[in-house]
Every structure is written in C-alpha cells, then in structure tokens.
Amino acid sequence: MIKKKIAQFGKIKNALIVVFLLFTVSGLVGINSLSKVSVSFRSIYEDRLVPSNQVALMSQFEYAIKSLIKRQILDGSAELDETEMASIKTYNASIDSLQKLYSNTFLTPAEYEAFKQYKVNKKLFDDVVAKVFSLVQLNEPVQAAQLFESEGYSTFDAMILPLQEIALIQVKVGEELYQSSYDRINNVRRISFITLGIAFTVTLFIALYYTFIHYERD
C-alpha cells in the first residue's frame, strides 16, 4: 500500500515537473522571439524609415542646388547672386549633416557601397560646379552653360543614381525585415496556442485521473 502511494506520488510529481518545464520552455522561446521582433521593428524604423527620409532630403537638396545653379547660369550675369550662393551653401551644409546622420545608421553592404559611390560622385559634381562658377565670374556664360549642361548634368545624374539605389534598398530590406518578423510573430502566436493547449490538456488529464482512477479511494 505504501509502495503504491509512493508510485502515485512519483507520477504526479513527474507530471508536474513536465508541465512546469513545458511552460518554462514555451515562455522562454516566446520571450526570445518577442525580443527579436522588437529589434526588427526598431531596425525598420531607425535603419529604414528614418534613413529613407534622410536620403530623400539629400536628393531633394541636390535637386534644389542643381536648380539654383541652372538659374545662376541662365541669368547670364558675371556676378554670382549672393542670396542664391548662400542658399547653395545652406543646402550643402544640410546635406553634410544628413550624410553624417545617415552613416550612423545600420548600412547593409550594398547600401554602404551605394553611399560611398554617392559621395565620390558628389565630389565630381561639386568640382564641375566650381568650374562653372569660375566661368561665370570670367564672364563666359555660354561656356558655363555648356559645361553645366554636359558634364554638370552627367555628374549630377551619376550622383543621384546611388541615392535612388539606397532608397530602393530601404524598401527591399524593410520588406525582408517585415517578412521575417511576421514569421516570428506567428511563432509567438503558435507558442501561445501551445501553452494554452498544454494547460488545458494537462489539467484535463490530471482532473480525469483523479476523478475516475482514484474515485474508489475517496
């Protein structure tokens, strides 16, 4: 009789340990998945959405600079318009700040390469712009316009292209992150279902065990 009691106690103890372990494992897996989901979300926001805005602003300012230079040349005057020159300087200063902010975000290798290319091409564009302004000051508006419309336009397009590539990368990487996080969220959902299932099944099993098997004892 004592041996039987000890055996019953052992079974219940083992069942309880199994229940506890199942809850603990599913809980830990769930917490781990959620931490990864949280990291992914932060990454979509901080490393995709915010940089996407920064890149869009850089592109916008580059276009604004191109437009101002164009106006400066078309003006036909040998004097550079101080207000417009100041605007170009402000835009360039803003681009510098945005470049610094952007380079502090997480860059994928493709993004890093595209950004490097943009900086190299921007330098080429800036060099052409400096030559164009020199020609304007030398009262050579036709030559200045020709240089800007040939070399200026081609270096500008080469500079904008990597920014457009970066913008596409943001969306592509964002989509990958979204997809992987969606899978992780589904895992958390499955774990929650499993936890509920375990709770229900084990409780039912033990309750039935006590109700029917030990009915005679009471």
Binding site: F23, G27, L49, A56, Q60
Partner: protein, 218 residues
C-alpha cells in the same frame, strides 16, 4: 477555507487545476490578442509608412526634373529646347504622379495625411496652370514675361507643392515613431504575460507538490 477542509483531496486538486487552466487561458488569450496588434503594426509600418515615404520622395524628384526642363525651355531658344520636349516631360510626370498618388491614397492615411494630400493635389493643380501659362507666354514670343512668371509665380507654386510633399514625408516619420513606441510597449507587455504564465506554473507546481507531499506523508 471551510470548503477546503471539508472536501476530499480529488475535489481540491480538480478545483485547483480548473483555476489554473482558467488563469493560463485568460493570460494566453490576452497574449494572442496583443500579438495580433503587433502583426498589424509591422504591416502598417512597411505598407503605410516606408513604401509611401519612398513614393513621396519620387514625386519630389519628378517635380524638380520638370522644373529644370522648364527653366531650360524658358531661358533658351526654341530650337535648343522645343516646347514639345517640355510638354512631353510634363505629360510623363502627370502619368507617373497619378500612379504614385493612387498608390498613396490606397494606404492607410491619418487625418493630417489626408489633409496634406488634398492640399498637395490643390497646389499641384495650381502649379500646372502656372506651367501652362509660362509655356504659352514663351511660345507667343513673350520671353521676358515667361521668365518673370517662372521666377515669381513659378517658384512660389513649386515651393507650395514641395512643402506639402515635405509635410507628407514628415508625417511618415511621426506616425512611424508612434508605431515604434506602441510596439515597444506591446512586446514589453507580452513578455510580462509570458513571465506571468511561467510564474503561475511554478507557483502551482510548488502548491500542488507541497499538498501532495503532506497528503501522502499522512
């Protein structure tokens, strides 16, 4: 407590397990509902913020591109830049913009976004009229009037269009940040729920273990 002493151990154990299962299921259901919100947040951050951010940036580029073309037309001779060339570029921009606006309108728009989108559409309509007028003046040989209009009304209306697009871009960031904060809270809450389930399991195991130990000891 009277009920506890009066009833036999099978009833007490059954009641304890039923209580446990109700508690775990309650926590699990809350967890599942919260995880569902998490999934929605991911979807909206990608579909309604990251992708529209890129589309708005594209819209800006389209405006700058045609603006530079228009400037070239106004300040050059008609044989250098033909009016057909400018009109073709404007027609292409219209097609591209219509697609991008339709895509943007299909996403989830917050109230401010709806407002800025409408304001953008209005300013775009006004800008188109100004563009038409500039081209008409130039084609009628009123070059100086066209230049004046481009420099004043043209710049003002372009600025209005760009500033509304800028507002639309800023909203993506603002709403993205709110979503990010929400997700941080949600993941934190679900983690707590998992810890609660693990805690319930541990406490129940201890209580039932102790109960059985004393019962069988007797």
């Amino acid at each position: 407590m009277h009920w506890f002493y009066k009833n036999k151990h099978k009833s007490k154990l059954s009641a304890l397990f039923v209580g446990l299962v109700v508690l775990v299921m309650l926590v699990g259901i809350i967890g599942l509902s919260t995880v569902g919100k998490l999934s929605d947040s991911f979807k909206t951050l990608y579909d309604d913020r990251l992708v529209p951010e890129r589309n708005v940036a594209k819209m800006m580029e389209l405006f700058y591109e045609t603006e530079i073309g228009l400037e070239s037309f106004v300040y050059s001779n008609a044989d250098v830049v033909s009016p057909e060339l400018v009109q073709r570029a404007i027609a292409k921009r219209k097609t591209d913009l219509n697609l991008l606006i339709a895509e943007l309108a299909e996403t989830y728009l917050v109230d401010d976004e709806k407002l800025y989108l409408q304001q953008f559409k209005d300013s775009y309509a006004a800008y188109k009229e100004v563009e038409k007028e500039i081209i008409r003046l130039k084609m009628e040989g009123k070059g100086e009037e066209a230049e004046k209009m481009l420099q004043q009304k043209g710049q003002e209306s372009l600025h209005s269009v760009i500033s509304h697009l800028q507002e639309l871009m800023n909203i993506q960031l603002e709403v993205g940040k709110t979503l990010y904060t929400d997700v941080e809270n949600i993941t934190g809450n679900v983690k707590v729920l998992f810890l609660v389930i693990m805690g319930i399991a541990l406490v129940s195991v201890i209580i039932v273990g102790l109960y059985l130990t004393f019962y069988y000891y007797e």
